[in-house]
Symmetry: C2
DNA sequence: CGGTTCCTTTGACTTAAGTCACAAAGTCAT
DNA sequence: ATGACTTTGTGACTTAAGTCAAAGGAACCG
């Protein structure tokens, strides 16, 4: 994947950044390929990059009493980051690839620096963050439902998750035990 | 509260915006006073304002099967908004004053318009949204704890809530029944 | 091919938290 | 104060979901 490809990919996602600004954004991107299990972000570490998934999938989780608690999954075309990346804090979560993946990696410092002079880049950043915050609001809503409805809701809203995520990870994302998920799935 | 007071208040919150930019921010602010029960944001409506609490408190909630589910509380010095305000979507939540309050109201369109030419304003917006997103992440973490630990956590992290919020609202915020909260509080 | 290992399902039992019903204590207006 | 209304606390019971334990299935590897 070369610079032109990256440009095309970015444009596919976002038409807001254009012309010279887009060239400058592309200049702080690089294309990388990693294998299943690779960690994009690790708990406790500061992370200067955000990622766009070209191909593959990732999960985010933290450990609670030794157990993984998944907070989200991400697929093609999605932005992968944690808010700590934007805020410059150490991350509370680990982000790990569920499949071999092709990614565009963006250096946040460079990206933020660009936003100082490029209003369109500043707007793009805000938009991504707002989108992420709305996503977090939807997760809170999901967790407020009784477990069976959580499963039904995700089945409805993001059926692709079922195809690509292990039931163990899905159960942890839905805030229930594997056994409960299994029973809900086999229920009439 | 006049323009100078507003300026002082904003500067107390955020030193990032300075000089001319601050004057321009103040120009899209107005000071209002409202009584307990007033709704700043209503479910299903688009809302063009965000608020800073000078004095008083507010809660945000949505209705689920006729019951209020509180998502957060806000006090002096905090920014009150929902992400739908930034995104221009109808709100999923209602924000209501818990006490008579003094507020600075900011017109989001004007504010966003300012950010096009004022990088410091754009950064302020991003920072508020990032802060809100981190706050939402903390709420998700809270909800993942067993109920007793939720109470202990909030007691530790935000003891002022206990003084100013009814136990009914607090229970709903903590995702438990009033009875459970009452039992947890009276436990040894 | 057989043997690990991991993932998922199922069954029996336990426990955390909810519901319902009622009592006690506060708040408020008259 | 007095009565109406709201908020909080307690007890008895129910239910949802978790835990523990065991057993099929897939996938993986020599």
């Amino acid at each position: 994947m070369n610079q032109t490809d990256i440009q095309d990919f970015l444009q596919g996602l976002q038409s807001q950044v254009n012309g010279d600004a887009l060239d400058e954004v592309v200049a702080c991107c690089s294309f990388i390929q990693l294998t299943r299990g690779a960690k994009l972000i690790e708990t406790g570490k500061r992370h200067p990059f955000l990622y766009l998934i070209v191909q593959g999938s990732a999960k985010s989780y933290y450990l609670s009493e030794g157990k993984e608690v998944c907070t989200w999954f991400a697929f093609e075309g999605e932005v992968v980051s944690t808010m700590s990346t934007f805020a410059g804090h150490p991350s509370n979560e680990t982000v790990e690839l569920l499949e071999d993946a092709a990614l565009i990696r963006i250096h946040v410092k460079d990206f933020k620096a660009l936003s100082v002079n490029r209003a369109s880049v500043a707007r793009l950043i805000t938009e991504w963050v707002v989108e992420h915050a709305i996503f977090l609001e939807s997760l809170l809503y999901l967790q407020s439902l009784p477990v069976k409805m959580r499963y039904e809701h995700i089945l409805e809203a993001r059926p692709e998750i079922l195809q690509r995520v292990s039931l163990t990870d899905l159960a942890s994302f839905l805030g229930m035990s594997r056994e409960s998920l299994s029973r809900i799935r086999s229920a009439p």
